[in-house]
């Protein structure tokens, strides 16, 4: 731990460390989120570096609580740390209020931890953008949390390698009346658009929450059904 901040302003008023963190995110595997009328879907690429990797041991969609989950683009270990932080925040809230935390509240509190890493002495910013998806009393939510600590609510968005193309695709395909099943198909289509190679049930991960407030990570068998529907 040093006394001075590692992230300091450039003469142009930029925080270069954050820009570089965003570069790391832009190199990461694509993740897509779509908010429908009655649910939210998260879809993320899970390309492994080698066929020797145990695909089932890699989990890119993390459950933060029963009705909120997150995925990311960027540095996996940083996401792991932030997921754990988020889970603790949920439990802390639960102990105090014994009430289901709102997605916006969780996003705001987690964002504080991310921002601290851009201003505290001796530590670097987190190298991930996180997509938080949840269904609370207010309805479905999709929130993006960036390395700077800024967070945005989206109707549909993409982060990572194919973010730009995916978002352009989504802008055309998205409509506010979408039901969750349409959203799942659209998300898979969007991911398929920029996918290098063949998309399979094991090299992507799909998480869905519907109005029952229960977030489910789909098993490969279910993902296979959705992928086949796309044909």
């Amino acid at each position: 731990m040093t006394d001075f901040a590692l992230t300091t302003f450039s003469s142009k008023g930029k925080l270069l460390q954050i820009e570089y963190a965003l570069n790391a995110v832009a190199k990461g595997d694509t993740a897509i989120g779509i908010k429908a009328k009655n649910g939210v879907v998260l879809v993320v690429e899970k390309k492994q570096s080698s066929i020797l990797v145990e695909e089932s041991s890699v989990q890119k969609v993390s459950l933060l609580t029963d009705n909120i989950a997150a995925t990311y683009a960027g540095l996996g270990p940083d996401f792991r740390v932030l997921s754990q932080q988020a889970r603790k925040l949920v439990k802390k809230y639960d102990l105090k209020y014994q009430e289901e935390i709102f997605v916006q509240t969780l996003s705001r509190e987690l964002a504080e931890d991310v921002q601290v890493a851009t201003q505290r002495g001796g530590i670097r910013p987190f190298g991930v953008s996180i997509l938080i998806a949840g269904y609370d009393e207010e309805g479905p939510h999709l929130v993006q949390l960036d390395p700077s600590g800024a967070y945005y609510s989206w109707k549909a968005t993409a982060i990572g390698k194919q973010a730009k193309n995916a978002k352009a695709f989504l802008e055309k395909r998205y409509n506010a009346d979408m039901e969750i099943e349409d959203a799942i198909n659209t998300a898979l289509l969007t991911l398929k658009e920029g996918f290098e190679g063949q998309i399979t049930p094991t090299n992507i991960e799909v998480g869905v929450i519907r109005d029952d407030h229960v977030f489910r990570i789909l098993p490969p068998s279910q993902v296979k059904d959705y992928l086949e529907e796309l044909e």
């Binding site: 102990l95 105090k96 209020y97 014994q98 009430e99 709102f102 916006q104 509240t105 705001r108």
Partner: protein, 204 residues
């Protein structure tokens, strides 16, 4: 200090009615056998639909109330919404337990209306919440008030009936307890309004 809960004296009572709740307290602020003032507030409106009554050491009554006010205000600003009565009831419990080894010498009662449904919760001084009963008491005159409540209470009373019953119970109890009394205040909360009535008790 033996009987720190008895030092200032005072009694509170909370009751559920049909889509309404009532809370009552005495007005005495004493120091053992002396009476200092007869207009001490012990029931607080935390939100339009939540009342907090506190009995015990007056210093802690005020401090704990101020702490709850701060919590709910910050919550309203941060979460941009009102707090639900059941959530507030839980907040009181966790806030009391936070001071497990240096507690607030208070026994709170929380009463509220959540979507029209009456909520009533009581606690010991370290946050053991109980929300199972339709009426609860607290303070030095508590046991005397219990007697009157058991006799007069019936479920699903209208706001007018509730006001009468809780008022009579409070007065009966406080008149017997030497450390409580010097007037009573009854609060009745319905979806539409909060009525406050000042009662006369035996002036001793």
């Amino acid at each position: 200090m033996s009987g720190i809960f008895e030092y200032n004296g005072g009694s509170i009572v909370g009751m559920k009615g049909k889509n309404c709740i009532a809370m009552a307290c005495d007005r005495r602020f004493g120091q053992q056998m002396s009476t200092i003032t007869t207009n001490y507030q012990k029931v607080f409106k935390i939100q339009d639909n939540i009342l907090l009554a506190l009995s015990g050491l007056n210093s802690d009554i005020h401090t704990f109330y101020a702490l709850m006010e701060k919590e709910i205000n910050l919550y309203n600003l941060k979460e941009n919404r009102k707090m639900k009565p059941t959530t507030f009831a839980n907040l009181v419990a966790s806030s009391l337990y936070e001071r497990r080894f240096g507690p607030f010498f208070v026994t709170p009662i929380v009463a509220g209306l959540e979507n029209g449904k009456p909520i009533l919760a009581t606690y010991d001084s370290i946050g053991c919440k109980s929300d199972l009963d339709d009426f609860q008491v607290g303070g030095t005159g508590g046991n005397y008030i219990y007697g009157a409540c058991e006799a007069f209470f019936k479920p699903d009373m209208s706001p007018e009936e509730l006001e009468e019953v809780i008022g009579q119970s409070l007065v009966s109890g406080c008149d017997r307890d030497s450390l409580s009394g010097w007037g009573g205040v009854v609060y009745v909360l319905t979806e539409q309004k909060l009525t406050v009535k000042i009662l006369k008790t035996k002036q001793t």
